[in-house]
């Protein structure tokens, strides 16, 4: 297993040919021949046209393996076992459709019913009162209808202005902000599957975040580092879009192959130079008049990606979690402690120029140094 699996798979071609039905291919039925081939491929190939053809097809030659005849027997029986297993009918794994009960509608209907009931009760109450008044012979003037009642009108007007003002100012503040923005991407790329389940480091793809202003979107060849081999999605959970539609992961990988110009049938003839960029939709947009630098925050400031981007590892479709407003930036700069390397045994040397703070820190005059103390609130730090 450990020897063969680097290059061979049972059910499909990888670096080398698939191993299923090995014994049906000509002389491989004789395990002694397999042993001769596997232990010394170069010598065997010299007098065997079949293996020469394999080298032409796969472009590389098998390296010699230290095996015994017993090992070969065991390997072949293992392969046959896997093939037999795969032919068994797969257990029905179709899950039920995800129940997407819309709570908001239920609550709306309930409150509507309650409101109607309250209205009827109020009417009944006033009718009963009128009847009891009539029975006791008390004279009352006809009640003023509620839509002419000045107190009611004043209250409704007040509520109306308060609500209108609230929504108006909220809309005005939200102008130019994109919290919860969750666009449809050209390929359904699930961060949950990649960064969550498969634990790919954020910086594997977004390596620019460590070195530059931009977190950088990976080019197609970075995707293909893994997807040259991973050409189907079958081991993870079922994927749904935010609108509740089922996603076929294998079809999404095929979209990547289309952009990369990669043919899974002929993996060795792929030319990375012919790949076309995928036009991902940018989610986190800062206005042009704001400067933000990723490396400054994650490398010098040691801020985790999730602090601003939220639980990316749980998101199928990424959404903007933070407000990215100025108040949000400034608030964090007011509250966040700077990791001062005041004892010079380690930590970040970047801050060594703040001599006064280092001294105050040592003397106990300050118990913590915030980002605002080292200029985190200066206008020109971000707007220039």
């Amino acid at each position: 297993m450990t020897k063969c699996a680097s290059c061979h798979q049972v059910m499909k071609d990888a670096t080398g040919p698939a191993l299923m039905n090995l014994e049906e291919r000509g002389k491989w039925a004789d395990h002694n021949e397999i042993l001769k081939w596997a232990t010394n491929p170069a010598a065997y190939m010299a007098k065997d046209p079949y293996t020469q053809g394999l080298k032409a097809k796969y472009g590389s030659m098998m390296s010699s393996q230290e095996l015994t005849l017993k090992d070969v027997d065991a390997i072949v029986s293992y392969i046959n076992q896997v093939v037999a297993d795969s032919k068994k009918p797969a257990a029905a794994t179709e899950g039920e459709a995800q129940p997407t009960a819309n709570n908001a509608i239920i609550f709306g209907v309930i409150s509507l019913i309650l409101a109607v009931v309250a209205l009827i009760l109020m009417q009944v109450n006033s009718n009963l009162k009128k009847m009891s008044d009539d029975a006791e012979g008390i004279y009352r003037p006809d009640p003023v209808p509620f839509y002419k009642n000045k107190i009611y009108i004043a209250m409704v007007a007040l509520v109306f202005f308060a609500m209108a003002g609230y929504f108006f100012s909220k809309a005005a503040i939200g102008f130019g902000r994109q919290k919860d923005y969750q666009p449809v991407q050209p390929i359904f790329y699930s961060h949950k599957v990649h960064a969550g389940i498969n634990q790919v480091n954020c910086l594997y793809c977004h390596g620019g975040a460590w070195d530059s202003k931009h977190a950088s979107i990976p080019s197609v060849n970075v995707c293909m580092n893994c997807h040259k081999a991973i050409n189907e999605y079958k081991k993870g959970p079922k994927l749904y879009t935010e609108d509740g539609d089922l996603v076929d992961g294998t079809a999404e990988i095929a979209k990547l192959y289309a952009a990369a110009g990669f043919d899974p049938q002929k993996p060795n003839s792929w030319d990375a130079a012919k790949a076309k960029p995928i036009e991902w939709v940018k989610i986190h947009n800062l206005p042009d008049h704001v400067y933000f630098n990723h490396s400054q925050h994650i490398r010098a400031g040691k801020v985790q990606c999730q602090t601003c981007h939220g639980e990316i590892t749980a998101m199928d479709e990424v959404k903007q979690v933070s407000e990215l407003s100025m108040g949000w930036c400034v608030n964090c700069h007011r509250q966040t402690n700077v990791d001062f390397n005041y004892d010079s045994t380690g930590g970040n040397k970047f801050y060594s120029i703040y001599e006064k703070f280092h001294n105050d820190f040592k003397n106990g005059k300050m118990d913590s140094i915030k980002v605002k103390d080292i200029g985190g609130l200066e206008c020109q730090k971000c707007h220039y």
Partner: protein, 206 residues
């Protein structure tokens, strides 16, 4: 009549309240679009306008360009001759002065995903065969082939890719690639004596 009006009002309010929510698919508007959206070319912006104006633009660096602070580029070609020659290439970095924590960080981000944090070829993408990756990654510390593989050959494979592994030349600079190689070699040196034992156990189970 008046009851009808009230009920209609309540229904319309309920509809307005419930219709808010759902997925936000549009980014909204900005106060001053010319201050929000850059007039200059930003990273990842389309360069189609330049092409339309007949201005030649090529995002690729000129052949032979060396980034500031990087090392002299690797010159061997990506073919079988280059692969064979790579065995004689040695690490140009002084292994004693390499920033070991940085080398480890680079390994864990870029290699550990397949080859494992313990270099045992069992990263989260393989997980003993349960992960999504179809081919077993090489075991750096338990595989005799990897233990005696020259560092130049390793560097060659990292630069151009080998079998199902892709090229890491776009993610790691020449210097960073050598740092990772020296990290792997240092780890291998620690386990080298135990290697033959690990090899026989690997052979026992096919």
């Amino acid at each position: 009549m008046k009851k009808l009006l009230i009920i209609a009002g309540i229904i319309s309010t309920a509809i307005t309240v419930t219709s808010c929510g759902g997925v936000r698919r549009d980014p909204g508007r900005a106060y001053m679009p010319d201050m929000s959206y850059s007039r200059a070319y930003e990273t990842y912006a389309s360069t189609q306008a330049l092409k339309d104006a007949n201005i030649n633009y090529n995002a690729k660096p000129v052949d032979g360009t060396i980034a500031r602070g990087d090392m002299f580029p690797y010159t061997l070609k990506n073919d079988s001759t280059g692969y064979a020659q790579s065995a004689t290439v040695t690490n140009p970095l002084d292994t004693a002065t390499i920033d070991k924590t940085e080398a480890e960080r680079l390994y864990l981000i870029n290699c550990g995903i397949c080859h494992g944090t313990k270099l045992d070829g069992n990263g989260p993408l393989w997980k003993g065969g349960d992960g999504p990756f179809p081919a077993a990654p090489r075991n750096f510390v338990g595989d005799a082939v990897m233990l005696k593989m020259p560092e130049g050959t390793m560097f060659h494979s990292v630069t151009y890719g080998k079998n199902t592994m892709g090229s890491y030349a776009s993610q790691l600079s020449t210097k960073q690639r050598w740092m990772v190689i020296s990290y792997i070699k240092a780890k291998q040196a620690k386990v080298a004596p135990a290697a033959p034992a690990a090899d026989t156990t690997a052979k026992a189970k096919p």
